[in-house]
């Protein structure tokens, strides 16, 4: 099982409600998206399929007639002259009524359409680069409902009186670890519910880590890094770790929202001089989780 499969499996594991909406993929987040395909210009040359490493594309032996009939010529920029002729002729001959896709007879080369599987795609853009006919585009949405499918809600859990949230906190080992240290030096009190994991940079946190934590029943995941524009590994570069993480966590917050785990993840920043802020962040998040109650996954885990 490759990493993407593993990740999706983990999301399925922690899902407690059926997602209903596609999730917008923020600009800086890569690796997630939707390949939009316009059949009318496609020559079924299979170049995209050959380029696709995770085998997210396949040739579907159907001809997408509805697309053919809604295409506008020459606006769509047909490189394939024969396809252009076919589209023009079909549009000219079209009668009243609904148009359905039709299947291509077995053994007839040169026709077919591209089938894209949302759960395999890593939005790497290679197919789009390989396509000679400009029939593929990458949309910044993630088709969560299609990928996750239907989710059965776990049984509700009873909250015991002595329940305390369990929060995992990823801290970068530059500023925010120093902030945590400072909070200690300053003898600031913050809830004991957190366990910190030190990592080089927030940019190094992978969704897999977050999902694994949630899968194992943590009630919340907190990520703290350097101040905006002050990442030790990128400064104010648009590629700097905490910039990445802001968009990134936004994306995963939306994803968790869709699957019924909303609010259980939070990102913030604290510089080495901000021991107080660090303590406040932890306090606020702990309170938030306390209000949310224990992770519904605990129920799942208990059932198991």
């Amino acid at each position: 099982m490759d990493k993407r499969d593993q990740l999706i499996q983990k999301i399925r594991n922690i899902a407690v409600k059926t997602p209903e909406n596609d999730v917008v993929v923020p600009e800086k987040v890569e690796g997630f998206g939707t390949i939009e395909y316009s059949a009318q210009t496609c020559s079924a040359c299979k170049k995209c399929i050959l380029a696709c490493e995770p085998a997210a594309l396949d040739l579907d032996p159907t001809m997408n007639l509805p697309d053919y009939l809604t295409a506008t010529i020459p606006h769509d920029g047909f490189r394939s002259k024969n396809r252009e002729s076919l589209v023009t002729l079909l549009q000219g001959l079209k009668q009243e009524g609904d148009v359905m896709a039709i299947s291509v007879p077995d053994g007839l080369p040169g026709y077919g359409s591209i089938a894209w599987s949302a759960d395999r795609c890593i939005a790497c853009n290679k197919c789009i680069e390989a396509c000679l006919e400009d029939c593929l585009t990458l949309e910044k949405t993630y088709k969560l409902p299609e990928i996750i499918g239907e989710v059965k809600s776990p049984p509700p859990i009873t909250v015991s009186k002595d329940w305390e949230p369990f929060i995992l906190c990823f801290v970068c080992w530059e500023c925010s670890h120093a902030a945590a240290d400072l909070a200690g030096l300053m003898h600031l009190h913050y809830p004991t519910n957190i366990r910190t994991i030190r990592i080089p940079c927030l940019g190094a946190v992978e969704p897999m880590h977050i999902m694994t934590a949630l899968e194992n029943g943590v009630d919340g995941v907190l990520l703290t890094g350097c101040l905006l524009s002050e990442c030790h590994y990128g400064g104010d570069s648009p590629k700097a770790g905490n910039f990445m993480q802001y968009d990134f966590v936004k994306f995963w917050m939306d994803v968790l929202e869709e699957i019924g785990m909303g609010g259980r993840i939070h990102i913030d920043s604290a510089s080495a001089a901000m021991g107080i802020k660090f303590a406040d962040i932890v306090k606020e998040f702990t309170e938030k989780i306390q209000n949310l109650g224990p992770s519904p996954i605990r129920g799942k885990l208990e059932v198991r």
């Binding site: 020559s43 079924a44 040359c45 299979k46 170049k47 001809m63 007639l65 009939l69 490189r79 394939s80 002259k81 024969n82 396809r83 002729s85 076919l86 002729l89 079909l90 000219g92 001959l93 079209k94 009668q95 009243e96 009524g97 148009v99 359905m100 896709a101 039709i102 299947s103 291509v104 007879p105 053994g107 007839l108 080369p109 040169g110 026709y111 000679l132 006919e133």
Partner: protein
């Protein structure tokens, strides 16, 4: 100059066509219009020769190009010629409709005028064949091929997977004839092929083209080598396999159930005191070939002559020689109609229960031995060989020929021939004939470098998406992917244009048949039809220039008339028709489109009939989906033996 020549065919066509009116209509289209009474005769040909220069383009409205095309082309100095078969496709089939026929003639001649505008000179394809021939299989047939080729001064290499042994040829070929004949023949052939190179290897790969094949070999000593050859003759032998019912009859479980070949060996060593009672079982599910039947009869006759009691249980006996059947019966062999149902291995012997259909009752025999009629099946490595060479196999695993009726040794690949048993079990006479036939084909290829002329596909690399659809579609291995580009192997090209119908991008166009030319022609045909005939519905018949065109010609010869408003448009092969030409035809207003191809499996280019059926089915689905009547498009085969086909296809419209 664009010139039109019309022929009245001994002043007979002018009774069915209004020549003065046609001439008047076409004055503006051609620079000159001339009418002759017998263009096909000596004086007519001389007239054409003197009237036409190499700068001209010419339209000839006369009889079918199938008859006059080649003789006239020899006389015409230009290659820009289009023929309109006014006699077979117009005058003779619309003899009761002078006006309609003349209108149709005008429309078709105008179409031909556009056609010559798009005409390109055909491409000359030369093929030089290397003189070396590789013969795969050194059995009886392979040796015969080698002997005949050596006799003609051609170098051969014979390839066998096993070590050489003269006696093994006799063993392997024992079913083909009696041992005496075989022994004598092997002796002769072995001495006649003494100068042949022989190697013991297996083939692992094949590249190159007809005339210049490169064969990769893995030899027994582990060495890997290649051999270059111009042509390849497959002369692989067969093996004797137990029939499907063998297991039921305890073959492999009891040593009293044996195969026919083992029985024959047993007979050779049999002492007079060892006589047995034997039941020979023929599997009713196996189509017995004549040569298998002959083998069976020879063995059982021998057994009976040796004093054994022989019962043959069968449902059909096939043999080429009725006399060996008679000899078997005369020698005392008992023939019983019926299938062996069950046997039991007992102390007394094998108890065989069989239903005798002649007596309608079940009988039991107790015999010493049950002998199974063997099935002759291709040698084990045949399938792998076929895969490497790109040949197809029939349901029994034999290699199929290009066209079973009159291309007996040609395979689907140029320069690769098949002789003898690799194609089907053969008697020695038939195998020797097929060897001679293969040698003839090889020799004809080598004797003179062939120069063929025809229109070929032209590839526009800029436009090409390298989708390989054309490569997949080409039935003749004439398109290949070389260094990431689609490359045309002109020596393999059959000038059919099937590749063109598959291309989604128009990166491959057939000379003289560009899509633009089709559009121009179809638009003009419709426009001219409407001008002449108003709203009268019209049909386009897209006919291949082989069987379908012949059938339509013959409709003329046999007077099987049909209504005017039917325009036959020739394609080199029906497989060249794509949905675009069909939809274009409908778009310009044709009421119906008929795609006429060769009979199933009978395409002259191998797959055109099948491709045409697929394309039409696909187009019908498109039409259905967009709310059009799919019945407006039809695919059908037409052959000369069915000259009524055209009438049937176009008469029931509307």
């Amino acid at each position: 100059m664009k010139k039109l020549f019309l022929c009245t065919c001994n002043k007979t066509l002018d009774k069915k066509l209004d020549f003065p009116r046609i001439e008047k209509e076409l004055k503006g289209v051609f620079d000159s219009v001339q009418i002759h009474d017998a263009l096909c005769l000596k004086e007519g040909l001389a007239f054409l020769e003197s009237e036409v220069s190499n700068e001209d383009s010419v339209v000839i409205g006369a009889c079918t190009s199938q008859i006059i095309g080649i003789p006239m082309s020899e006389k015409l100095k230009t290659e820009s010629v289009s023929f309109v078969p006014l006699r077979e496709h117009v005058a003779w089939v619309h003899s009761d409709d002078l006006k309609g026929a003349s209108n149709k003639a005008t429309v078709l001649l105008r179409d031909a005028a556009i056609r010559v505008d798009h005409m390109e000179p055909p491409t000359v394809v030369e093929n030089h064949m290397e003189k070396e021939v590789l013969i795969i299989g050194g059995g009886m047939c392979g040796l015969k091929v080698a002997a005949d080729l050596l006799n003609l001064g051609i170098d051969v290499t014979i390839l066998e997977p096993c070590p050489w042994d003269d006696a093994s040829y006799v063993e392997a070929g024992q079913f083909m004839a009696d041992k005496e004949t075989l022994t004598k023949m092997v002796k002769e052939l072995v001495s006649a092929t003494a100068s042949a190179t022989t190697i013991c290897c297996t083939i692992t790969g094949l590249d190159g083209r007809s005339g210049k094949y490169g064969v990769s070999l893995a030899c027994q000593d582990g060495k890997i080598s290649t051999i270059d050859c111009g042509s390849i003759v497959i002369a692989t032998n067969v093996e004797q396999k137990p029939p499907p019912m063998a297991k039921k009859l305890l073959y492999g479980k009891s040593d009293r159930t044996i195969l026919l070949g083992d029985f024959a060996t047993l007979l050779e060593k049999q002492e007079p005191k060892d006589v047995r009672t034997v039941l020979v079982a023929v599997d009713p599910t196996h189509h017995l070939s004549a040569v298998e039947g002959g083998y069976l009869l020879r063995v059982v006759t021998e057994a009976a002559k040796n004093g054994n009691t022989v019962i043959v249980a069968h449902s059909n006996i096939r043999t080429e020689d009725e006399n060996i059947y008679r000899a078997a019966r005369k020698s005392g062999v008992i023939f019983v109609r019926g299938a062996l149902e069950k046997i039991k291995d007992t102390k007394e012997g094998m108890v065989c229960r069989l239903e005798n259909t002649l007596e309608s009752k079940i009988r039991e025999f107790t015999v010493d031995l049950v002998v199974l009629q063997t099935m002759t099946r291709p040698r084990g490595d045949t399938a792998e060989l076929a895969r490497i060479a790109g040949l197809s196999l029939d349901e029994d695993g034999f290699i199929t020929t290009r066209y079973s009726k009159n291309k007996p040794v040609q395979t689907s690949k140029k320069g690769i021939y098949i002789a003898g048993n690799g194609k089907m079990p053969m008697s020695i006479d038939d195998a020797i004939a097929s060897a001679g036939n293969a040698v003839l084909e090889v020799f004809k290829d080598i004797r003179a470098s062939t120069r063929r002329k025809g229109w070929i596909p032209i590839i526009d690399e800029e436009q090409c998406d390298v989708c390989e659809a054309c490569i997949e579609a080409c039935p003749n291995d004439a398109l290949r992917l070389v260094d990431g580009k689609v490359t045309h192997i002109s020596q393999h090209c059959e000038f059919c244009g099937i590749c063109v119908s598959a291309c989604p991008t128009r990166a491959i166009e057939f000379q003289s048949h560009s899509k633009e030319s089709w559009f121009a022609r179809l638009e003009a045909l419709a426009e001219n039809h409407k001008k002449m005939e108003g709203t009268k519905p019209f049909t386009f018949v897209y006919a291949c220039s082989e069987c379908a065109n012949a059938s339509i010609d013959l409709a003329g010869f046999t007077g099987k008339g049909y209504p005017t408003g039917t325009y036959v448009i020739q394609f080199p092969c029906a497989g060249m028709v794509s949905p675009i030409e069909i939809l274009k035809g409908l778009a310009v207003g044709a009421d119906r489109i008929v795609v006429a191809h060769c009979p199933p499996g009978g395409c002259h280019h191998q797959t055109g009939d099948h491709m045409a059926e697929l394309v039409v089915k696909f187009t019908q689905d498109m039409l259905r989906s967009i709310g059009q009547d799919p019945e407006r498009v039809r695919a059908t085969y037409m052959i000369a033996a069915l000259p009524n086909k055209m009438q049937e296809e176009v008469a029931h419209r509307g």
